[in-house]
Symmetry: C2
Subunit: 418 residues, 2 copies
C-alpha cells in the first residue's frame, strides 16, 4: 500500500508546520473552506447524486440512503460549522497553568496538537468537513477514510477543502484523503503507528470493533449508547413526560436516545399509564417489567436481554424500581457509559446521581439527547468517547490536543541529595 504510506508521510510532514501555524492563517483556511462548499454546491451535489444512484441500485435500505444524502441545507450547515470553528478560540499554545517552585523554577503546561489523526467513517459525508475543520483548527493533520458508497461525494468535498487549505498557504498534507476504496487500505492505514497519533472511528459497532482489533494506533470511540432516564419519586411528572418523550421519540436512531426508562414505585401508577399511551401514539413499542405490566396497558414482557439492548429504534424498555439506589444500581450494571439522566425536584438525590452515576454525561432534568458537542457549546464534534482516558464525552478542539510541561530556569541544576 505505497499510496497510503505516501499520504501518511505527507501528513506527518504537514503536521509539523501546521502545529505552529498562526491562528489567523488557520481561520482564513476555515473561512475559505466554508466559502468553497457554498460556491461549489452544484459540483458536490452532482457527485452525491451519483453516489445515491449507485446506492439505490445496490439496494441499500432507506436509513442508509438518508445518511448518505447531501442537499443545499446540509452544505449550508457544514459551511456554518466551519465558520463556527473559525470563531472558536485556538487551543494551541495556550498555557493552561504556570506555577513557581520553591527553588524559583517556573513550571507550566502548554497545549499542543496531537500530530496526525486518522478518521475512519461510514456513509455520512458531513463528517468530512467537520473532521477536516476541527483537526485543522487544533493544529492536527488529518487522514480521512470514508465509506466506499460515499467516495464520489467525499472526493468532491475534499477537492474543495484542499484547495481552500492550499490557498491559505498551508500544506496540502494537512488534509489527507484515501481515494482507493480497497478494504486493504484501511488495514494499511491502521498499522502506520509511526505516522499516526490517534484513530477515531465513526460508525456502527462493527466498524468500531474492526478498527479496535486491527489498529496498532491508539483508538478513541464509543461502542454503543444505552441511555437511561430515571424518574424519581419527587419528579415533576409533567416535566418527566416531556423529557422522556423527547429522549425516546425525537430521533430514536442515535446513540444519545433513551433505551430504558426507570420509574420510582411511588410515582409509577400516576406516571406510566399516561406516558405509555403517549409513546404508543408515537409508534413506540413498550416492553416492561411485571410491575409496569400490572399498571399499564399494551406493554410486552421485557426480558433480561432488553436491559442490555440498544434498540436504536422506536422501542423502549421500562422498569419500576423500589428506590433511588436500585435505579443507580441498574444503571451501573447496564449502562454503556454514554449519557444518563434523572428527573427530580430533590436536590440531594440530583447531586448524588451526578456523583454516583459513572457516564460520560450525567443530566439533571434534561433530555439525554443533548449529549452532543454542538449542544454543549464546543462547536462541532469529532465523535463521542465513552472511555475514561484522554477524552470522555463529546470531543471538540481541546480533546484533539495534548499538553507539554514548559520550564523556565535561571541556570537551575538539581541536587538529589537535598
Amino acid at each position: 500500500m505505497q499510496e497510503i504510506v505516501a499520504i501518511a508521510e505527507e501528513a506527518k510532514q504537514a503536521s509539523r508546520l501546521l502545529a505552529w501555524a498562526k491562528t489567523e492563517v488557520k481561520n482564513r483556511a476555515l473561512e475559505a473552506m466554508a466559502e468553497g462548499l457554498l460556491k461549489e454546491k452544484a459540483k458536490i451535489l452532482e457527485a452525491n447524486a451519483q453516489d445515491l444512484a449507485a446506492a439505490v441500485e445496490a439496494g441499500h435500505p432507506s436509513a442508509f440512503i438518508d445518511r448518505l444524502t447531501l442537499n443545499e441545507k446540509w452544505l449550508e450547515q457544514m459551511a456554518k460549522a466551519l465558520k463556527g470553528i473559525a470563531g472558536l478560540p485556538d487551543p494551541v499554545g495556550e498555557v493552561t497553568g504556570m506555577w513557581r517552585r520553591p527553588n524559583g523554577l517556573l513550571v507550566g503546561r502548554m497545549r499542543v496538537p496531537l500530530g496526525v489523526i486518522g478518521v475512519i467513517y461510514e456513509s455520512r459525508p458531513s463528517v468530512t468537513a467537520d473532521a477536516a475543520g476541527l483537526c485543522l483548527k487544533s493544529g492536527n493533520a488529518v487522514i480521512l477514510r470514508g465509506g466506499k458508497e460515499a467516495i464520489r461525494s467525499n472526493g468532491a468535498l475534499v477537492d474543495v477543502l484542499e484547495e481552500a487549505i492550499s490557498d491559505a498557504g498551508l500544506p496540502k498534507g494537512c488534509l489527507g484523503f484515501v481515494r482507493t476504496t480497497d478494504r486493504a487500505a484501511v488495514k494499511a492505514l491502521l498499522t502506520l503507528d509511526r505516522y499516526l497519533d490517534l484513530v477515531i472511528p465513526r460508525g456502527g459497532g462493527e466498524l468500531i470493533r474492526m478498527v479496535r482489533e486491527t489498529s496498532t494506533i491508539l483508538v478513541i470511540a464509543h461502542e454503543k449508547g444505552l441511555c437511561h432516564t430515571y424518574v424519581d419519586e419527587d419528579a415533576d411528572l409533567g416535566m418527566a413526560e416531556e423529557i422522556c418523550y423527547n429522549a425516546k421519540v425525537e430521533r430514536p436512531g442515535v446513540c444519545n436516545a433513551m433505551e430504558t426508562l426507570l420509574v420510582h414505585e411511588g410515582v409509577a401508577r400516576d406516571f406510566l399509564p399516561r406516558m405509555i399511551e403517549r409513546l404508543n401514539k408515537a409508534g413506540v413499542e413498550v416492553r416492561g417489567c411485571p410491575r409496569t405490566r400490572a399498571i399499564a396497558q399494551n406493554v410486552k414482557e421485557a426480558t433480561e436481554v432488553d436491559w442490555e439492548t440498544e434498540y436504536l429504534d422506536l422501542i423502549l424498555s421500562i422498569k419500576v424500581v423500589s428506590s433511588f439506589e436500585e435505579a443507580v444500581e441498574h444503571i451501573a450494571r447496564h449502562s454503556s457509559g454514554l449519557a444518563e439522566a434523572i428527573v427530580t425536584k430533590d436536590h440531594g438525590r440530583a447531586m448524588r446521581f451526578l456523583r454516583e452515576v459513572d457516564a460520560s454525561a450525567v443530566f439533571v432534568n434534561a433530555s439525554t439527547r443533548f449529549t452532543d458537542g454542538g449542544e454543549f457549546g464546543m462547536g462541532a464534534e469529532m465523535g463521542i468517547s465513552t472511555q475514561k482516558l484522554h477524552a470522555r464525552g463529546p470531543m471538540g478542539l481541546q480533546e484533539l490536543t495534548s499538553e507539554k510541561f514548559i520550564v523556565f530556569g535561571e541556570g537551575h541544576v538539581r541536587d538529589s541529595r537535598k
Copy 2:
C-alpha cells in the same frame, strides 16, 4: 489464575466505594499509612534484608541491589511522600468548568477517578507506597505487582499499608497485591480488561515492551529517555557548563539525564574544551562529531548509533551544529520525547524552542534532571508518560483521573429541527 481474578473483582468493588470516599477519610488513611511505615520499620527492613540476601546470592549486579535496598532514610522518605499526598488537594469531584448555553442549560465538567489501576514494576520497593498513596488519594483502587526479587519487602509494606486503609474504614480491596511470583500472574492480570481501566508499567524497556504486547488494557508508560541539551550561540557559557554537568553527571542512570549535547558552532570553540575536560574528570566518556573532535582532546568518534542511544551511563555524545534550526531538527529526529533543554540568553529562540520542540517537558536554562513529579510540585509521581494521549510528562493525582460532563436543566428537551 483464579487468585488474580479474585483480586481484580475485589478491587473493582472497592473502587466504586473509594470513588466517593470523603477527602478526610482518604487523608486519614494516608496519614495512617505513613505512621505504619515508621512504626513497623524493623519488620519491613528485616523482610528487605531477606530479599537482599537472596539477590546477592543470586549474583544480581550492584545497581540492582542498590534499587532493591531499603533503609531507615528511605522509609522516612516514603512516609513523607504519603503525608505530602495527604496534604495535596483532592482532585475528585472538582468541577473544572461550567458554562451556560443559550437555551439556559448549565453544562460543566466534573473530575472523577479512573477506576482500577494496575501497576507492574521491578525491583524498587518505594513504588509500592507511592503508587498506593497516589491511587488512594485520586479515588482509584490499585493492584500492585512488583518484581519477584522484592516480594518479601513489598509484602511487608503492603501488610502495613493495608491495615492502615482498613483502620480508616476503607475496603481492603483498595490496595490489591499479587503475592504469587508466577510470571503467568502478570499475563492474567494484563488481560482482565473488564476489571482494570489502566495499566502503568515502571521499569526497563523489556518490561514495558512485554506489558504493551500482552495487555488488552490501556497502557501508559515511557519507553526511554534520550534527552538533549542545546547550548545556543547566545548562551551564558558558565551557566551552560553547570547545567550540562548536572544533566550528565548528577545521576547518569536515570531517564531524565542528558545523553546528547548540541552546541552552536559560534561558541563551540570557547565552550567545549573546558566542558569536556570537566566531564572527563568526572569519569565521562565523550563521543563527538568531527567538528567536536577538531576542537577538543580526548573525544572518541561518534557514529549514527550514538545519536540514537540512551546510555544510562557516564557516556555523552556531542554534536556541533551550524544553526538553531539544525539543533531543533536533530532533536526532532532523535528525541525520545521525554525532556529537552536549551541554554540561551535570547528570548526569541527560547520561546521558539518551547514551541517547536515536541517533548513531554521542555526546559529553558535549567537541567533536564528536573523532569520529575516531585520537582514539578505534583507530590509524588506514578511514572512519566511520553505519549500524547491522556497524560504526558510526570503523572500525579490529576493524571489518575478522568472527567465527566454534568448538565443541569429545567425540563430541557431537544429539537433537532431548530
